[in-house]
């Protein structure tokens, strides 16, 4: 499957909370979407506010996700079509994904005995069954579109070109930190919640990858060096022992044999 994604157009959003309601319904989370203002173990998507605008906050489904790089158990994986999904049966609960996510998206079930990570999984089960994510289906304003990432990028460019006065000339997620599947465009005001546009072009996951790539070589060279030191230290100890013996032998009544040995060793 091609890389899929979503395009969030903040200018189209009327703040009806239908995306949140659909997500909560699908996940079986209780509560009134309009009262939910923070991501939590029972809220995978929320609306943040920048002036009068509503800005959706949920997993950005990075192309090179820091959480997937972080996970020691491969409980977080990125599918070939771009959804970053979580498998609680593999998770050991170390929460390094929460530490690693540059956007602080993953949430934890702090009140559960066997807690799970909660975050948007792009409704991968619906996508694999040929459907589209619940939030995109629920949006009555066309502010959350689901489709192929390339097509969504083209659509985003067209919208910005057609109404340059209404849009910040930047597509969030095209390149930032390696790019996301979830793209966002909107008015200049959204920079207040989405940050400036000076993102790195590679993911934090690349930092760890670069360092860890050198590990096997380091281990081999390190082990060889240790063995070398071991060998040299053994030789040093033998030489020192011989010298000590030679010194003692010099003081003994019959020096010739000891003297020969010591010459042989030090030569």
């Amino acid at each position: 499957m091609k890389t899929m994604g979503m395009l969030i157009d903040v200018n189209m959003c009327g703040g009806c909370h239908e995306c949140m309601a659909a997500c909560m319904k699908k996940q079986g989370f209780e509560g009134d979407p309009e009262q939910v203002t923070k991501l939590s173990a029972t809220a995978r998507t929320i609306l943040e506010h920048a002036g009068d605008y509503n800005v959706r906050k949920f997993c950005r489904h990075c192309i090179d996700p820091a959480c997937v790089g972080a996970c020691p158990a491969k409980a977080l994986v990125r599918t070939d079509y771009g959804a970053v999904k979580y498998d609680s049966d593999r998770c050991m609960g170390c929460r390094y994904c929460m530490i690693s996510c540059p956007y602080d998206i993953p949430r934890y079930e702090w009140d559960e005995v066997a807690p799970k990570i909660q975050k948007c999984d792009m409704c991968w089960d619906r996508i694999e069954a040929g459907g589209i994510p619940a939030c995109a289906e629920a949006c009555p304003a066309g502010a959350t579109l689901f489709g192929e990432r390339e097509e969504l990028l083209a659509e985003a460019r067209t919208r910005i070109q057609d109404a340059p006065e209404e849009y910040l000339d930047y597509i969030y997620g095209e390149h930032d930190n390696g790019g996301y599947a979830i793209l966002m465009i909107g008015p200049k005001e959204i920079a207040a919640v989405r940050g400036g546009i000076d993102f790195a072009d590679s993911s934090p996951a690349a930092i760890a990858r670069g360092v860890l790539k050198q590990l096997p070589g380091f281990a081999v060279v390190g082990a060889a060096a240790l063995f070398g030191i071991y060998w040299f230290a053994g030789r040093r100890n033998r030489v020192m022992a011989e010298k000590a013996r030679a010194r003692t032998d010099d003081r003994l009544p019959k020096p010739p044999k000891g003297g020969k040995e010591s010459n042989h060793v030090t030569a």
């Binding site: 991501l39 939590s40 820091a66 997937v68 790089g69 972080a70 996970c71 020691p72 158990a73 491969k74 409980a75 609680s88 049966d89 593999r90 998770c91 050991m92 609960g93 170390c94 929460r95 390094y96 929460m98 530490i99 690693s100 540059p102 602080d104 949430r107 934890y108 079930e109 702090w110 009140d111 559960e112 005995v113 066997a114 807690p115 799970k116 934090p204 996951a205 930092i207 760890a208 990858r209 360092v211 860890l212 790539k213 590990l215 380091f218 281990a219 390190g222 082990a223 240790l226 063995f227 030191i229 071991y230 230290a233 053994g234 040093r236 100890n237």
Partner: protein
């Protein structure tokens, strides 16, 4: 029950109170979840149990790999008497890590998965893999002591022959996972305060593990001298002090040149929460012990050497707590203070460590017998 030297009544009573309270914490966590016993949150998913029990605990156990390297790789035989106590301390430390993980991990029955997951991008995978394998190596290195107790001569011979490969494997694994603990934080430059984020975190964690490993051997010698009547000779202690001073110097050089290169020194000069904790860490835990070490070595004052080593341990703990907690607070916009049950559980692990060491020293030959130096360290059968 030995009742010499100090009052076992008081310490034993305290130990059992903390143990009982710690078991209650375990019970709460496994009936009501992590939220019921910790101040952990989505903003602070890692707290005292990771910052102290894991990051500090693994560092404090570094004496084990250090001393095997000194005795078996560099072949400085005069350090042999401390091989067994240092290895025993390390092994107990790693076993306590596993116990701490049973509390902190959300789904610890999946703890084995990193062994087979092979995620080459995950620093946590490297840490988990190396720590697990190294624990097995430590057990193998210590097995000679058990075989000796059981009188299995043939097993002792085999174990002795495997010593060098085991030691080399253990040292490589240790260097990798000690530095990887710092590497865990490499991927979050945007979340950490500039006084602590550094590209050199892996190196800083490795060097500080070495200096604290040396300091811990001095501290352990002092404690075991009091409790068991075994302590190291003045010459050995002095050499450990010199090595510790050298490592503190290397650490200070890396730490401050990195701060200067990143232009973070002005942040240390601001009066504030972060800079205050920074100077506590650097002043009390780095500069002061280095000065005291110089005086102690010049005057051959072993008491002062012991005091300086304690401060080195303190400074090491402060650095790791600052990296794992303080450095993250400003980007989180909130403070993390451990809950009382978190502190109780941590105390319980410390107490269990002491208790386990006492038991091991009582039933195994951890310390040398007088005039028995030929038998030390490697379980030599002859």
């Amino acid at each position: 029950m030995s009742r010499r030297n100090w009052n076992p009544g008081f310490w034993k009573t305290l130990f059992f109170i903390v143990l009982a309270a710690g078991l209650v914490v375990f019970w709460m966590r496994w009936t009501r979840g992590l939220g019921s016993v910790t101040h952990l949150s989505d903003a602070f998913p890692w707290g005292l149990w990771v910052g102290f029990d894991i990051l500090c605990g693994i560092g404090l156990a570094a004496g084990g790999f250090l001393i095997t390297a000194v005795v078996y790789i560099f072949r400085l035989e005069r350090f042999k008497p401390i091989v067994r106590p240092a290895l025993m301390t390390a092994f107990i430390g790693y076993m306590l890590e596993v116990l701490a993980l049973m509390l902190d991990l959300g789904r610890p029955w999946n703890l084995w998965r990193p062994l087979f997951s092979w995620n080459p991008d995950s620093v946590m995978f490297v840490v988990a893999w190396c720590v697990t394998v190294y624990s097995v190596v430590l057990a193998a290195e210590l097995s000679g002591m058990i075989f000796e107790k059981l009188g299995w001569k043939r097993a002792q011979v085999i174990q002795r022959r495997a010593t060098i490969p085991l030691v080399i494997l253990g040292v490589v694994l240790s260097i990798v996972h000690q530095s990887s603990l710092g590497g865990l934080y490499l991927t979050i430059p945007g979340k950490m305060h500039e006084l602590w984020y550094s590209n050199f975190l892996p190196l800083l964690f490795l060097v500080s593990a070495v200096s604290v490993g040396l300091a811990m051997i001095v501290v352990e010698s002092r404690i075991s001298g009091r409790v068991f009547g075994h302590h190291l000779g003045g010459r050995t202690l002095t050499e450990l002090g010199v090595a510790q001073l050298v490592m503190l110097g290397i650490y200070a050089l890396v730490r401050f040149s990195d701060l200067a290169a990143r232009g973070a020194l002005p942040a240390a000069m601001d009066l504030g929460y972060e800079s205050g904790l920074f100077w506590l860490e650097v002043g009390v835990g780095l500069i002061l012990p280095a000065l005291l070490l110089m005086v102690a070595l010049k005057r051959s004052n072993l008491r002062l050497l012991y005091g300086a080593s304690l401060l080195t341990v303190l400074g090491f703990i402060l650095h790791r707590l600052n990296v794992s907690m303080t450095a993250l607070e400003s980007s989180r916009g909130e403070h993390y203070v451990p809950a009382i049950p978190e502190a109780i559980a941590t105390l319980m692990f410390v107490g269990l460590g002491f208790a386990a060491f006492r038991l091991a020293a009582r039933y195994l030959q951890v310390f040398p017998h007088e005039g028995d130096h030929a038998r030390l360290g490697d379980g030599r059968a002859s």
